[in-house]
Point group: C2
Chain length 104, copies 2
DNA sequence: GCTCCTATTTGCATGATGCATATATTATTG
DNA sequence: CAATAATATATGCATCATGCAAATAGGAGC
């Protein structure tokens, strides 16, 4: 979930509500996202210095908290990409092992 | 973790201690496994009827609890394979999206 | 006897996630 | 204009997987 938010913010800076919709559209995660979880993650990411935020008063609707990715956030996202590539490889191993056993 | 245990038990029936070692060898999961977690999962799988167990007194060393996969366990493992294939696809999507953004 | 390996179990803490709910502002619809 | 829906953020509580630590117990080798 954290890497998904960082990736979407690498794409472009935006606010939490739009991130919730983007997460569903992009299909990185199955199903619809829980708003509470997303906002909590964003606050946590800001605590850790991976994103920064500022209030955006202008525009329609309620005030939005606009998030953007920091330099540190980009580095952490790169590390996440490595981790995810590893997980993907492990899943492939799992699936090939399962298929092999199923044949016999 | 649960699907990994079911897969290893599809391969052959065995006991918890050997499963811990197999999990590290097979590389389904990074690093070494925590015994407490493995045994707790096995008890949980038995509660859910996905595996069955019996004490194996014979042989050297302390008594072993021999686990084997049930019919229901095989079905649940098949469902896990579907889920994992879906997760793998989502990770591929994530990585390709990340690489694309990194180029520009 | 002492230590190590095998084998299982339990307690406690943390971190991600899900569901529900509270809140305030704007847009829409009857 | 009043009621409702959509936008936008936040908090509380529960559950589940995981990790660290420690306890127990039998057998093997020095």
């Amino acid at each position: 979930m954290q890497p998904c938010l960082l990736l979407l913010l690498l794409r472009r800076s935006t606010h939490g509500y739009e991130l919730i919709q983007s997460l569903s559209e992009f299909g990185f995660i199955e199903g619809e996202m829980d708003p509470g979880s997303v906002y909590r993650h964003l606050r946590r990411l800001e605590e850790d210095g991976l994103v920064s935020s500022e209030w955006q008063i202008q525009g329609s609707g309620p005030a939005k908290r606009l998030y953007r990715l920091t330099q540190e956030g980009e580095e952490v996202l790169a590390a996440w990409a490595q981790t995810i590539a590893g997980n993907k490889a492990r899943m492939e191993k799992f699936l090939s092992c399962y298929e092999e056993l199923k044949e016999t």
